[in-house]
Assembly symmetry: C3
Homo-oligomer: 254 residues x 3
């Protein structure tokens, strides 16, 4: 992919999402569940969220993509993730790992490293989480090396987003400062990444496009919101209305 | 009841709700809990949400109505539902069953069918869930037959809502397309149905009135919202302000 | 502290919060988690919410303050609270108790009384909860006596907020009627109280300042909101923008 074409490709994937309505199953934390479901619906996907080990297999078997998010991680969610990954691996369903807060708890970091061996299509995280996961500072070379080692796309978000599969890289300078003042923004970005993987088989393209869509929606929301409370609704409204015109006009990608 | 009188009756029940502030206990999923609580508060009811098997009995014993919603259903919620239904049956507290996503998991469908034997006053569901629950296509005859078989009001929501107790039927054509783009809308409608049952003993009237109130509020919200993010707040604002005038003017009931 | 100086002191503590970004760990109920996290972020704090007994110790050890909220209280949260309080006591981390709904379940009241022995810096509750906790009607003398007995600041919220440590008292007449129509407002106020304790060592000052900030933000939100749905976002926007000018102009403290 030529990175210059990313806004156009993102618009195309969004149209595919709205047409196909892929099912995205999310093992995620209670703080993020409602906002994540609404972000997925606004993008055109169909979310499901059960973490009951008894039935999660049935949901994942019918899903087009899976998210495993480690926020508020407990025994029940660990069991759910294990059951979900077994089905996803068997069915070759793409999945995204979001290793939330592993820089705060070594136990969580150990668990995240074990999950990476189950071959996520993408890992969406921030700088501190990357350092805890890989043991390296999050510079370009380390991101590429980690992507090559794990065969996963690394999607690092922050003021600037960096996405790489070890061979190709994209840098996105969209988004808005208020995104760091609303809980579950990163979690929702990871879920959106999973939704894009549900309709786009190139994991690098899907991940870069998902973060571009979320970043451009965030920028539009930042112009309309009067603070972090109204920002949460505004980014969902912006994502729902996002189109080729806005993407081409506002994308800052290299 | 003459269906033509439903807008007026709905306004009266809403006034009763605001005056009496019935307690509604909800066994519901984590995705829906916050939105559901806010919808109940906006309508005038007092929500409680604990699913701890140790104490749920004390909450249900003091409640005027109960909701059992199967979204993200786990062992803990199954225990909670069993304890809640025991107390509700003993106290003859009306309860609503919301068999979320039973069309995605046969295990959940089996469980929902077992719950129906505990005699819900109303079952609020969509077309796919009705088919999974009853084994029949959701046409008018099947809805009436299922209501007669179970002695429950069947409240089917979708683009058009259909409510029947087997003898009487109402069809409501309010609502808004954005309602399908916000998570937990159906869950909140079921909770509102429970709240109406807390102050209106005729289960058919209570269920039809609850869905009319929610549908009219949704229509008003759709005129004001700029997307699904702002719609969530707008429907709560509209429900809070809903009155006889708006109901009479906007209701599309037959 | 002279109560007349409270608006100015509150502005100073808010500036400290935004500069230091204290970590606040919350053991709270699923209904309140998202809203609570967003209120903390808007004030400048960094929330974490895990209730996994395995890892909560690691989070509390790095936290500047702790909240223990009893809403939807289950075995998992009781274990989490026990583990959290052990670490907080060892590290002398200030913590806030929010005994939600203990007036509805005697079992919960018994548990809350046991938690008080772990020496919370503040107890934030409403009138019914105070009566259930202390066995006394919530008049000024009873509040002061309970504060002296427990060595905790008692922060009673309602139409009027009353804060006392047994020696000093403050009465706040800010806030807005819509605050009682949005779920988790009290829970969020308790979390904000914890955040203020994370940057202000005088527990009486921290608690009074937190409730003043929340009350003034609520009043501003009430002027802007069109109902309880939009109020939830508006109070977060107002808290994010809250400054010395608004506090001095709008505070009604005695």
């Amino acid at each position: 992919m030529r990175v210059a074409g990313l806004p156009q490709i993102t618009a195309e994937i969004l149209m595919r999402l709205r047409a196909r309505a892929p099912r995205v199953h999310c093992v995620t934390n209670a703080v993020a569940q409602n906002f994540t479901a609404n972000v997925l619906l606004a993008a055109g996907a169909i979310p499901s969220m059960t973490i009951s080990a008894d039935e999660i297999g049935a949901f994942v078997a019918r899903a087009d993509a899976l998210l495993v998010n480690l926020g508020t991680f407990d025994a029940e969610r660990r069991d759910a993730a294990a059951a979900a990954l077994e089905v996803a691996t068997e069915a070759r369903t793409p999945w995204v790992l979001d290793p939330v807060f592993i820089d705060r708890s070594e136990q969580r970091a150990v668990y995240a490293r074990a999950l990476v061996r189950h071959k996520p299509a993408a890992i969406r995280l921030n700088a501190g989480e990357f350092a805890a996961l890989s043991g390296a500072e999050p510079d370009d070379a380390a991101l590429m090396r980690y992507a090559l080692d794990t065969l996963a796309v690394v999607a690092l978000t922050g003021t600037i987003d960096r996405i790489t599969d070890g061979a190709q890289s994209a840098v996105i300078e969209n988004g808005h400062p208020l995104m760091s003042k609303v809980t579950a923004m990163g979690c929702a970005a990871s879920a959106l990444n999973a939704a894009f993987l549900g309709v786009e088989s190139d994991a690098f393209v899907a991940s870069a496009a998902a973060l571009l869509a979320f970043g451009v929606a965030g920028g539009i929301a930042g112009e309309r919101a009067t603070g972090p409370g109204s920002f949460g609704a505004a980014i969902i409204d912006a994502l729902y209305a996002l189109d080729e015109h806005a993407l081409n006009e506002k994308a800052r990608v290299r």
